[in-house]
């Protein structure tokens, strides 16, 4: 009988590097690593040769130079005397704004459309199908451009709102008029909406370079407080239900909780709405929502919503009919069935692809360039890049920021996925 032999390491042959499972993967990895390093080294070497040849270097100090250009939508204070870094922040905030609002709106529309597509109403289901098919089979760029064209071509110019003495005398109507009790003006520059002003304003605090209005903080706080109370009432109702079996009617309490604190704070601050009024070339006062923003937002929203609708539909369809029937057979009403049985299951199916749609929307927001919306691509990757000639640095920085954004979103998704994974054998 053969004797017990330990690992056959003793007689190592070169061929084992390839044919021995123990060494094979190491060999391959070393080769891959070598190729990768060689490739990277080659690229870097070229880069530095080229840079040297052109008398350039890699440096990010330009971020601290004066930017010198103006940006039309600034959510954080910015003038042309600020640095390129700040301009970048302005762009980033604009990107985040459109991405966030886009995700919210697309989710709402997508869910509604997705549910309606399953409606037993033939007409509505067909209409929704048409919407979905048309929007997702045409490039998003087209939707952005079309929305923009609608906003700039179809809407009136500010001076069409002008009422001159002569017109009054002749009893003419102006070519365009404002909506909602003269508070909203949709023009081909943008939409002017009323602005909230506080007569008993509490001023600002400066957080580093960011001035923050205390009024806004207070309003935010009151909203958060309202939501907390809202949830507390809900939890309380659940407790009562658990104890007595009957769920108390709380909707009016919850509504009050949600809006009460906000109203109180607003009144205390002496808020009023400042309407935009026509003056000079343009409306003054109020808040201007740029058409480029509207176009980008609506275009992205409608496009992404079509995909989300499909995701929602698939998610609901993925829950077998048996689940509904079982719930009905237990005596649950359709509404309760939806809330307690179908939605919690559908959400698990829906959320992961939903998040990747959010990612897509965020990335697609870089098409802002097509409608001159000043997002990150417009400031850092556009004007700053151009005025400073730091194309490598700017592109690197931009990719990095987008990458970090996506990684944040997708790691959030992973956490969620792990939390809700169905338990199985």
């Amino acid at each position: 009988m053969a004797t017990f032999a330990d690992t056959p390491k003793a007689n190592f042959r070169l061929g084992m590097l390839i044919y021995d499972t123990r060494y094979r993967s190491v060999t391959i990895q070393i080769v891959v690593l070598f190729l990768f390093m060689a490739g990277a080294a080659w690229l870097l070497n070229n880069l530095f040769t080229n840079l040297a040849e052109r008398g350039k270097d890699l440096s990010f100090s330009f971020l601290w130079y004066r930017a010198g250009y103006d940006i039309n939508q600034t959510l954080i204070p910015y003038t042309n005397d600020d640095t390129h870094f700040r301009a970048m922040l302005v762009g980033l905030v604009n990107t985040l704004l459109v991405a966030f609002l886009g995700c919210v709106a697309a989710t709402i529309i997508g869910v509604v459309v997705g549910v309606l597509r399953l409606s037993s109403n033939w007409l509505v289901a067909r209409l929704m199908t048409i919407y979905v098919e048309i929007f997702r089979n045409v490039p998003v760029l087209l939707w952005i451009l079309v929305t923009f064209a609608i906003f700039t071509e179809v809407t009136p110019q500010p001076r069409d709102f002008k009422v001159t003495d002569q017109m009054i005398a002749e009893g003419q109507e102006p070519a365009a008029s404002m909506l909602l009790f003269d508070s909203v003006a949709i023009t081909n520059r943008g939409t002017f909406i009323p602005k909230i002003v506080y007569s008993r304003s509490l001023g600002e605090i400066h957080l580093g370079f960011l001035p923050i209005s205390i009024d806004t903080l207070l309003v935010l706080a009151s909203i958060v407080f309202g939501v907390l109370v809202f949830r507390a009432i809900g939890n309380n109702a659940t407790k009562v239900q658990e104890a007595t079996g009957v769920r108390p009617v709380t909707w009016w309490k919850r509504l009050l909780a949600l809006f009460g604190p906000l109203l109180i704070v607003l009144v205390a601050l002496g808020f009023s709405l400042q309407r935009p009024t026509l003056g000079g070339f343009n409306f003054t006062g109020g808040v201007l929502v740029l058409n480029s923003f509207m176009a980008l937002w609506i275009g992205l929203t409608l496009y992404t919503a079509a995909f989300i609708a499909e995701i929602v539909r698939a998610g609901i369809l993925a829950i077998s009919k048996g689940q509904t029937e079982a719930a009905y057979a237990l005596g649950l009403r359709p509404g309760r069935t939806m809330n307690l049985v179908i939605l919690p299951q559908a959400l698990r199916v829906i959320i992961p692809p939903l998040i990747s749609q959010y990612l897509n929307l965020t990335k697609n927001s870089s098409l802002a360039i097509a409608v001159s919306y000043m997002d990150l691509r417009g400031t850092l990757g556009g004007i700053t890049l151009n005025q400073t000639g730091r194309e490598l640095e700017c592109m690197l920085l931009m990719m990095l920021i987008y990458l970090v954004l996506s990684l944040l979103i997708s790691s959030g998704m992973n956490v969620y996925n792990n939390a809700v994974r169905l338990k199985e054998r």
């Binding site: 237990l330 049985v341 199985e424």
Partner: protein, 264 residues
């Protein structure tokens, strides 16, 4: 009969009394799917405590019949009265009937996102408005009855098929229904698991539950049923007490059917 899972328990027939009270009354009920006439002139009266087995070839309308009883399907003519409530399109009546009638499906249809206990307490809490504590106590009681109290905090996905079906039965029982409907409750199960479920059903029968059961487990039918109903082409072709039904079928169709399922 070659069924290796023949019912081995000793069955206590004495307790299975049938009262004179009527639990379900179906009169000249007809149903169509589009132009297809699935149920034709069904007449059936079920007394409280009766245990009825429905058999018949595939597509004969067995499932449709019992699904009409708790209005998972709508019938188009005739009358169905369950527990004194007539099933019309009145939503309140439907709700009442559904909470009186428990149903167990072929594929269990447990809610995979809820634990076993939550599966069992969901309907009592939201439909019967029972306090949670109480609902849980009831649920544990029925889970003990189906012999899986220790699984209460697991999820359906973690249980075997037989266990899942028993949970499904317990879930229905938690609503304290007066009538139970079973639609081929064992046909999706592995042979070993069928026995577990049948035992549970027999226990229920012993307690005098009114039951309608679509099944081809003839051992079960012989041991438990008061009546076997044979359906074909949407009609009730024959009904009789089990021994008679099996030993002395009257109609040609029934004979053919029995020869097939008993022969194989």
């Amino acid at each position: 009969m070659a069924d290796p899972h023949a019912v081995t328990r000793e069955i206590n027939r004495s307790q299975m009394q049938v009262s004179e009270e009527i639990a379900i009354e179906i009169v000249k009920m007809n149903k169509w799917y589009g132009a297809f006439h699935v149920l034709r002139d069904i007449d059936l009266t079920v007394n409280r405590g009766e245990r009825i087995v429905i058999a018949g070839p595939s597509g004969s309308g067995k499932s449709t019949l019992i699904r009409c009883i708790n209005r998972l399907e709508e019938h188009q003519s005739g009358k169905i009265v369950v527990d004194g409530i007539e099933l019309t399109s009145d939503l309140k009546n439907i709700d009442k009937v559904r909470s009186e009638v428990g149903m167990v499906f072929q594929h269990f249809n447990l809610f995979p996102h809820l634990t076993i206990l939550e599966n069992c307490t969901l309907a009592p809490i939201w439909v019967r408005k029972v306090p949670k504590k109480e609902a849980e106590a009831t649920a544990m009681h029925f889970l003990e009855k189906v012999k899986i109290p220790e699984q209460a905090n697991k999820y359906p996905g973690q249980l075997s098929g037989g266990q899942q079906q028993r949970v499904a039965i317990a879930r229905s029982l938690c609503m304290k229904p007066r009538i139970m409907l079973f639609d081929e409750p064992t046909s999706a199960l592995d042979p070993e698991m069928i026995k577990e479920v049948l035992d549970t059903m027999i226990e229920l029968a012993e307690e005098g539950m009114t039951m309608l059961c679509v099944t081809h487990e003839m051992g079960f039918a012989q041991a438990v049923a008061n009546r076997v109903i044979f359906m074909d082409q949407g009609q009730i072709v024959e009904q009789n007490e089990p021994t008679e039904f099996f030993n002395n079928p009257q109609s040609e169709r029934t004979k053919l059917f029995l020869s097939q399922i008993l022969g194989h």
